[in-house]
């Protein structure tokens, strides 16, 4: 084997190794930037995050705009986000809930969020300590506006666009 070929191959291999590393980084870049966008582990209260994150383009909170995310703003799971689809979200301590909350004041099947015609409804599933939309206790299916906290025990959730 000529010396030249080996030398070229040697450096080529090292370069290829780093190309692999950067390709992997490229594939996961989306996640890295997502981390930078919401650098805090704990979701900020409504308004604050929008100002910090999007720089002068605050999220407009108005009725009728589709909610895309359910964000936990307080409690043990603070910072957790669930992307909303068209499926209902169940909340409770039961392991098969969509959002499993370990909160002393939550029931196994505490509440659920159901979409209907573009509007999300919160519904209490007969919990012991109740579900509150802002200050009001939820008795039947109640429409949830964007950015209004749903309180379950020590946990607070809200819909974000």
């Amino acid at each position: 084997m000529p010396e030249l070929v080996i030398t070229v191959a040697r450096f080529g291999f090292l370069i290829l190794l780093w190309i692999f590393v950067f390709t992997v980084v490229g594939v996961i870049r989306r996640d890295l930037f997502a981390g930078a966008r919401s650098g805090r582990l704990v979701a900020a209260p409504r308004g604050v995050g929008a100002v910090l994150g999007q720089g002068g383009k605050p999220a407009r909170v108005k009725r009728g705009k589709a909610a895309r995310q359910l964000v936990v703003t307080a409690g043990q799971l603070a910072g957790t986000r669930i992307t909303l689809g068209e499926a209902q979200i169940t909340i409770g301590r039961a392991e098969d809930s969509t959002l499993v909350i370990t909160d002393d004041y939550a029931s196994a099947r505490h509440a659920r969020l159901v979409p209907r015609d573009g509007q999300w409804f919160v519904e209490d599933l007969g919990s012991t300590n109740g579900t509150y939309l802002d200050r009001a206790k939820v008795t039947g299916p109640t429409p949830v506006p964007l950015g209004v906290p749903i309180r379950i025990g020590r946990t607070s959730l809200e819909l974000r666009p």
């Binding site: 191959a9 291999f13 590393v21 959002l99 209907r116």
Partner: protein, 496 residues
């Protein structure tokens, strides 16, 4: 792609319009990364042959092809079993594993006489055996993905796993040294020609137990009693489990004569505890306990020797490797010289002299590789480890349930800690202890356990990245109705 990341791309559409979610599983990205990794492994094999044999044999591609086949098999399995799993994990691990097999094959070539080299079969020698172990381990990983369809089901067996873990840790300690001792460390079970390192599997079992236990206890453990120097100290009675694990890891240090393993178990527990409670005080308490214990073992080793003598010796070698470079310090000194002669870009694959390194196929594989690919190549490998750990932690951040968070965080941390312990050891940062380098070192137990670890991480990352689906059209779903009906209604879970 976490839920947070999904919002940056527009695949989600809620509301009354279309409501169709184009979930990105990113399996094709995984496939192309995997192919790139396999090209690297094949290139490494070719270059080794070019250096050692001075020619590239027509069959240089056989090990790389066998590896590619089995990794592609796992990739296909992931497509069916965990379609939303992290795309970066498999290719990164495959690259490390492939380079490990390539390097071990290179050692076989260097050991063999020219006559034997010609007929070195694919599955012969250290490299061949490692290749066979890889096939078995990847099959096991796929099996785990198939059996465990929901990582939360692991928590059901938490106490069984915890007991199994402790038994696995203890077996080598109670066995006679003739069966369990290799190079001064009692970590093995040797049956016939086969040696099993049960501690590697105990790691996984204990982590599952820790995660389960801490999910249940974290409320209590995060209670603070008083502030001291700006740190919330936990209550005295809550220290119990930490002290127990600390004692167990000290017993491992004494009876199995292995600092690395005991550091690994204890670090694993403290890290999981920290993830569960978010209290810095636990980290500080853990560090103080560990360094206190290690220093005590050092002092005791100096004074009374006995079970502490091995650790005392290793600490002294670490403090001054060149004090006795031909006997006690031989291993570490040879490793440092190998890294040093590798320099920035290394001698080139196959051009170093790894056989001068004792234990080059196990503990010192990183030094052996470093001599040939240099700092430039080694740092790429370290970044690959870093990326694997990062993906694990990312899965832990994104998954919704607490058990999954703790398990994924703990597993990722353990992998990182193990790399730190061994790479720190061979580079003289910490006392050298016999840990395997994950995915690189020769050894079936380590490879199997680490592939199982990756399978669990894949499973959890699949749960974390899977979009919330499974509901019927909103209009057909009753939103009102009595609770009795709700219990009968299909419960929407993140994972079906």
């Amino acid at each position: 792609m976490t839920a947070a990341a999904t919002s940056t791309s527009p695949p989600t559409s809620t509301g009354g319009q279309s409501g169709v979610r184009l979930a990105r599983s990113r399996r094709n990205a995984e496939l192309s990364l995997l192919l790139l990794a396999m090209v690297l492994v094949a290139a490494y094999g070719a270059m080794v042959e070019a250096s050692v044999l001075d020619t590239v044999t027509p069959s240089f591609w056989v090990p790389a092809a066998a590896l590619s086949a089995v990794f592609l098999g796992l990739h296909v399995a992931i497509r069916f079993l965990a379609p939303f799993a992290d795309p970066a994990l498999l290719p990164a691990v495959a690259l490390l594993n492939g380079l490990g097999v390539g390097f071990l094959h290179r050692l076989d070539l260097a050991r063999a006489t020219p006559a034997e080299r010609a007929e070195l079969a694919t599955f012969a020698g250290t490299g061949g055996r490692q290749l066979a172990w890889t096939l078995i381990s990847v099959a096991l990983a796929a099996g785990l993905l198939a059996v465990v369809r929901d990582h939360r089901s692991i928590s059901r067996y938490a106490y069984t796993l915890g007991l199994a873990g402790i038994v696995l840790v203890m077996i080598p300690a109670v066995l006679p040294p003739s069966i369990s001792e290799i190079n001064g460390a009692k970590l093995w079970i040797r049956v016939g020609g086969l040696s099993i390192q049960p501690g590697e599997f105990a790691k996984l079992a204990l982590l599952a137990f820790f995660a389960y236990y801490l999910v249940r206890k974290r409320e209590v453990l995060s209670l603070a009693s008083r502030r001291f120097l700006g740190v919330d100290l936990p209550r005295g009675r809550d220290l119990g489990p930490v002290v127990v694990v600390w004692l167990i890891s000290l017993l491992v240090l004494v009876f199995e004569k292995d600092l690395g393993t005991s550091l690994l178990y204890f670090g694993m527990f403290v890290a999981t505890l920290y993830i569960a409670t978010e209290r810095v005080s636990w980290l500080l308490i853990g560090l103080v306990l560990f360094f206190g214990g290690a220093y005590l073992a050092y002092v005791l080793g100096d004074l009374i020797g006995g079970p502490f003598a091995n650790f005392y010796l290793r600490a002294n070698i670490w403090l001054d490797p060149f004090a006795d470079p031909y006997n006690d310090g031989y291993q570490l000194v040879q490793g440092l010289l190998a890294l040093g002669s590798g320099g920035m870009f290394g001698a080139g694959p196959g051009a170093g002299q790894p056989l001068k390194l004792p234990e080059v196929q196990n503990d010192f594989i990183f030094a052996g590789l470093g001599e040939e690919i240099g700092l430039f190549g080694l740092s790429a490998l370290l970044v690959v480890y870093l990326l694997i750990v990062e993906r694990g932690l990312r899965a832990a951040l994104a998954v919704h349930d607490s058990f999954g968070k703790l398990l994924a965080g703990g597993l990722a941390f353990t992998l990182g800690l193990q790399v730190f312990v061994i790479v720190g050891g061979i580079s003289g940062l910490i006392p050298l202890t016999g840990q395997t380098t994950p995915f690189l070192s020769a050894g079936g137990s380590s490879l199997m356990a680490n592939w199982l670890l990756i399978a669990i991480l894949l499973r959890i990352s699949d749960a974390a990245r899977r979009p919330v689906t499974g509901g019927g059209p909103p209009s057909t779903r009753p939103t009102g109705g009595p609770p009795e009906q709700l219990h009968g209604a299909p419960t929407e879970v993140i994972r079906p």
